[in-house]
């Protein structure tokens, strides 16, 4: 399988690097200080292919903290905070778009 680093990055706006935390699978974002956070507003936001490639390379090298890192689009919202850039990332960030069945049933 092709490594994410060998795939050509196409970036049309601001992006972050996201992955799933190893121990529990939670969605995490790569931060400026080289750690991971479950908060998107703590993610490192980059705008160029070289910067995204560098951020992704560092993320992938950290194989023990998070799994399956990739570059994901964001929009810059009010106050300069990043928001998920597409529906898939919105769902990863906020969870399923319906109530859990525990709340629907008996």
């Amino acid at each position: 399988m092709t490594s994410p680093l060998e795939q050509k990055l196409r970036i049309t706006g601001p992006v972050v690097v996201t992955a799933n935390r190893l121990g529990d699978g939670a969605v995490v974002y790569r931060t400026v200080d080289g750690s991971w956070s479950t908060r998107l507003d703590e993610a490192a936001v980059v705008n160029t292919v070289p910067a995204a490639t560098e951020l992704l390379a560092a993320s992938l090298a950290d194989d023990i903290s998070a799994v399956g890192a990739y570059v994901a689009p964001v929009r810059i919202g009010p106050g300069g905070r990043p928001e998920p850039g597409n529906l898939r990332e919105t769902i990863r960030h906020a969870g399923p778009t319906f109530a859990a069945p525990t709340m629907l049933a008996t």
Partner: protein, 552 residues
């Protein structure tokens, strides 16, 4: 129920110990993700959008009440209090943590449950009719053969690294409830002209990106030969299928490209080498497996006891449920009861841990402790005395699994879709939820009759959209969710792939379009008992298309 032996228990326990060690080494960094991923997948552990997902095999959809209680416990202790029953008669937990998985698997193993061969390029969970062993229209219990194949293919070294995954389904009834024509191998038990029972073998069926209906390559196979013949099919597949392109690696592509006759010749040649070897079945082995399926002592009861008639006459809701969710049993005085996991507004196939516990208790009281899972994502009580139906109905209603919509428009099959699945392009569950709200009127649903809506959130077709009477496939266009709609598909003995209605419609219009299609059916049907699929078969999609695209 099937009773596992010491060999099964040891195998499952050893696998838990192996996996505990593997998780420990992954967490410590000794194993990389690249090394660990195939190991976790061999145990049914996927990484989805927000979390790990554990898929647990339910062989031929048969569960004991004890097993269902363990599933409830796993949902409660390690997940978020619910599980999702799938179109492959399995269950999935969507929020499980890797660090908890060894303990969860140990708890599952205590009831003989595991996730082996629920992922990877191997022979997956072997599925069958959820009414096996009790259906009046079946020749014999097909689970005996499913179990035999399960034992033979479990951790079979030659078939652990096939070109792609491999799905086998078995039916023994005149009406195919197991969708055998859309499986890699479909086995149909039937009687030949001489009155002998054997298998018709179909190969190369499947849905996904390139759907095909299976082709019959052996009209009648003696039962003694079923292992050797299936092995020959797998060998030909293993040898000739394409490993260079994941999209062309399934057996359906090989059968299509080679032609069914040429494929059958290859299988026949391979089979001649092995048919009289160790794989020829010893009747004593088959009898031993058959003896491990236990049936309750049904007792002598009459059909239609007076309790039923009394309540039918006084309670319209009971009458509706009895007419919809209760089917004839092969033993007089008994019934097969389907529990709907499709409440209005609910995600199809989901059950909470509390529901699972209640259902397990009710199975003990009313169904000899046995539950089945159907590929339509509902549950079944296979051994209910008819005189118990009023009490059972009240109890099932109290846990919200007595909606009388089995086989009707709101009994929707849906994959997890983009709300959970990392492969999905679009959501499936919210579309299903909206449709159950639009079609909440059960009088209308009954008037519409049998109508299966199947929804998939991507081309992989876990929601079986190709064979839905109305099929809905989510695709992504320029970052937006769109849905292709097909009509006239069916998964039974007359299996067909649906025909495309027209251009894909956006998320917000899907329920409107389905309502239009249904309204068109009501106008177009020749008489009230002409089913939706029969109307589509007679007229094609054009009259539906004209109506839908005139208004959208």
């Amino acid at each position: 129920m099937y009773l596992y032996d010491e060999f099964d228990r040891t195998l499952v326990a050893e696998r838990v110990a192996d996996f505990r060690d593997q998780v420990g080494r992954r967490m410590s960094g000794e194993l990389t993700e690249e090394e660990f991923k195939p190991l976790r997948l061999m145990n049914g552990v996927y990484l989805q959008l927000h979390a790990y997902m554990l898929r647990i095999a339910i062989p031929y959809g048969t569960l004991s009440s004890q097993q269902l209680r363990i599933l409830a416990h796993v949902g409660r202790r390690y997940d978020r209090n619910y599980g999702h029953f799938t179109t492959r008669q399995n269950i999935q937990f969507n929020w499980i943590k890797l660090e908890d998985l060894p303990d969860a698997m140990a708890d599952l193993a205590s009831a003989g449950l595991h996730g082996m061969q629920t992922s990877g390029n191997c022979v997956r969970n072997i599925t069958t009719d959820q009414w096996s062993g009790v259906a009046p229209d079946e020749i014999e219990d097909p689970r005996i053969w499913a179990e035999l194949l399960r034992q033979h293919t479990t951790m079979h070294p030659e078939f652990s690294f096939l070109p792609r995954k491999f799905k086998i389904a078995v039916t023994a009834a005149a009406h195919d409830r197991a969708a055998v024509k859309v499986h890699d191998i479909g086995l149909r038990l039937h009687r030949n002209g001489a009155g002998e029972t054997g298998f018709e073998v179909l190969v190369g069926g499947g849905l996904g990106r390139t759907p095909f209906i299976g082709k019959s390559i052996k009209p009648f196979l003696q039962k003694r030969d079923v292992l050797s013949y299936v092995e020959a099919v797998l060998r030909v597949y293993n040898q000739f299928a394409r490993r260079d392109n994941i999209y062309k690696a399934r057996i359906k592509i090989l059968v299509h490209e080679l032609g069914a006759e040429a494929f059958a010749r290859e299988v026949e040649a391979e089979w001649q080498h092995i048919k009289d070897g160790p794989l020829a079945l010893d009747p004593a082995v088959v009898a031993d497996i058959a003896a491990r399926f236990r049936y309750p002592d049904y007792g002598r009861l009459d059909d239609n006891p007076p309790e039923l008639a009394r309540l039918r006459n006084t309670d319209r809701r009971f009458d509706a449920w009895l007419g919809n969710a209760v089917a004839n049993h092969k033993v007089p005085g008994h019934a097969i009861v389907t529990l709907s996991l499709k409440p209005e507004g609910g995600p199809p196939g989901d059950a909470t841990s509390d529901q699972m516990d209640s259902i397990a208790d009710l199975a003990d009281r009313y169904s000899a402790g046995e539950i089945r899972v159907g590929h339509e994502q509902n549950l079944v009580f296979p051994h209910v005395a008819q005189r118990d139906l009023p009490e059972l109905w009240r109890a099932l209603d109290a846990v919200s699994v007595a909606t009388p919509n089995i086989g009707l428009v709101s009994d929707i099959i849906a994959c997890p879709g983009l709300d959970y699945c990392s492969l999905a392009n679009a959501r499936a569950i919210p579309i299903a939820q909206e449709l159950t709200r639009r079609f909440r009127d059960l009088d209308l649903a009954r008037d519409l009759g049998r109508l299966h809506i199947n929804i998939s959130g991507c081309i992989n077709a876990c929601g079986h959209h190709h064979v839905g009477h109305i099929g809905i496939l989510g695709v992504e266009k320029n970052g937006e969710e769109f849905y292709q709609i097909t009509l006239g598909g069916r998964a039974d003995e007359e299996a067909e792939l649906g025909a495309l209605l027209g251009p894909a419609v956006p998320y917000g219009q899907v329920a409107d379009v389905v309502e239009e299609v249904v309204a068109a059916y009501l106008e177009l049907r020749e008489r009230p008992d002409e089913t939706f699929v029969a109307t589509v078969k007679r007229l094609g999609v054009e009259p539906f298309k004209e109506r839908v695209y005139a208004t959208h």
